[in-house]
Subunit: 345 residues, 2 copies
DNA sequence: ATGAAAGCGCTAACAA
DNA sequence: TTGTTAGCGCTTTCAT
């Protein structure tokens, strides 16, 4: 029966071969005769031997561990991405070491240092912004880094996002063509590139049509804050309230809808319309039926992994900035428009 | 400036001390003179040195990595737990290596083997059942294992759950005292201990009061399935429909409510009441306002970590089975009952 | 308190 | 194809 921590040495002894022969049998791409392979596999099976990943990592310099930094797991977008990320990396022989980070920069600093200590082969930073120094540190350590769902200025670092600017534009165009007039916006955390880009696309398109934003609230990507922002935005006579609110992400938009309906007694979309961003699972739940811009999470994850593994496995690859287009999903939280055709799914 | 992968050797050289001196400075509980400490720290800072966790793990036999096996990240209960687990382990100097598992046993087998390969110090299995052989394997490897949110028969393995049986009882008592008569149940995945225990507590209490279950549906812990089960359960004349449905977890209960309201046009709680289990964040959202039994996620996580780290750090600790009591949270998805006092929060 | 030396379990270069 | 050997970067005796 298997004992605690069987080593290749013990297998070698039992199989009557050298320790390196055992190593070869378990190393993909190494060569050994059929006879050796059989002997070793038999001995290994009897002993319950499996190679020690850490020892392998030490000598090969490849840990097959990917460090994942993530901040908000309460926003449904992230668990879904994490699940996907982890599954797909597993399929490719990697595993995910998770690091929860707040968005305070000192915290992130610590966290990235810790990640590096584990000799990870690569890092995925989801929904957190890294300072240039930090990303330099990763590069200095030879550890590729991909930003997931956050863009940045430097072209030295790979990043995968949805096309947030275009997404914001789509929402604006739709609202304009649907004939909305009093159009408001509830912002996410102001430092986030997603927040900025969505708003920029939205505003630019609005302004190009000569429309001014009716009002703007601060949601900070949190439900509580968005709820407050909503109350404030609607604590006015009817004609001073917006007809439609574009909310920087679905997570907040759900809270906005609940606040409108259950605290303000308004009907969506009859009294006021709501648009979100992300297309998280809950956006499709009948209670919300939220019009939103889809971030193709699966696709974003695939590309993130492709970029990261390419950077890990080849040394000549350049950083890539990828923006993935996502469709506007029109659902019941906004008015129907006749004669206008939008992307639908 | 920092270079790629600085070693203790290089620091030693720069500081003019031996490599072991450097090691001592970075090893908690080792001793060195003030002078050495200063020299080493200075050199280390200049070089940007940090100890290699993997090398440390190899020689010390402690990786400070905890393997986490998890299956359903779409059920809001788990992301919350994962976030907590990860944060708190980080605070105690551990990190989480994530393994996504389907509930197919072959998959779990593979996954646990892989975990063991990483020389993890301990394993937390969340929402997955491990075969006795598998848990034996972990014990043989000297790796402590704690089941999170799953119970089991063997007393050789630690497990932390809410008191699901008592929770089921609470729901039954409440429904009885509220005067409900046609009481139905929608089950989760039948193999899961949570499903079984909740139902057992519920049924035992119902039966003790001479009440028979009105009907039973199969939700498998999935929204889609629960929705189907609901349609089936209500595809009957009014008097053959239940007055209240107890659903084995909130995740399904949300889908049940949506189906009742938006596919069947029924009002909750006027036409039919719904009770869930877990108290996930969405249960408290005004759209659902779901009566449910709270699983104190934070507390469950704390205890899980305590048990696991104790088993890791002391060799004499015994497996512990902990059931944490959770209150019934009465919200708007069920009728109000006068004169009956329940735990509330 | 400190340095030298022995490994942790493995892969890879080198001989044979 | 195989065994021998030299490390990967570190902690931990063991002398001094």
């Amino acid at each position: 029966m298997s004992n605690i921590r069987v080593t290749s040495q013990q297998v070698a002894q039992k199989a009557g071969v050298s320790q390196s022969a055992v190593s070869r049998v378990f190393t993909p791409g190494a060569s050994a005769s059929m006879k050796t392979i059989e002997k070793v596999q038999k001995a290994a099976a009897e002993l319950g031997y499996r190679p020690n990943s850490l020892a392998r990592a030490m000598v090969s310099g490849k840990s097959r561990i990917i460090g994942l930094v993530v901040a908000y797991l309460n926003n449904q977008f992230y668990p879904e991405a994490l699940e996907n990320l982890s599954k797909k990396l597993q399929e490719r022989g990697y595993h995910v070491l998770v690091f929860m980070a707040s968005n305070s920069s000192e915290n992130i600093d610590t966290v990235v240092e810790e990640i590096l200590d584990y000799q990870v082969d690569g890092i995925i930073a989801a929904s957190v912004s890294l300072s240039p120094e930090l990303s330099n540190k990763c590069r200095a350590a030879g550890v590729p880094l991909v930003l997931f769902n956050r863009a940045h200025d430097s072209p030295k670092m790979s990043a995968v996002t949805s096309d947030n600017y275009a997404g914001g534009q789509k929402v604006a165009k739709y609202l304009i063509s649907a004939g909305y007039e009093r159009i408001s916006y509830i912002a996410g955390w102001e430092e986030a590139s997603t927040q900025r880009d969505r708003e920029a696309g939205f505003m630019d398109t609005l302004n190009a049509s000569g429309i001014n934003l009716f009002s703007r609230g601060f949601g900070k990507f949190e439900m509580e804050e968005s709820s407050k922002a909503t109350l404030e935005m609607f604590s006015k006579p009817k004609e001073l309230r917006p007809e439609v609110v574009f909310v920087a992400n679905d997570h907040m938009a759900l809270a906005v809808m609940d606040t409108l309906r259950y605290e303000l007694g308004l009907k969506v979309p009859e009294d006021v319309s709501v648009v979100g961003y992300d297309d998280v699972p809950a956006a499709a739940w009948p209670s919300y039926d939220l019009t939103t811009v889809r971030q193709c999470s699966g696709q974003m994850v695939n590309i993130t992994i492709d970029i990261l593994l390419e950077e890990i496995e080849s040394d000549t690859s350049q950083p890539r900035i990828v923006k993935i287009d996502g469709p506007l999903i029109i659902r019941g939280s906004t008015r129907k428009v006749k004669g206008v055709e939008y992307e639908r799914i």
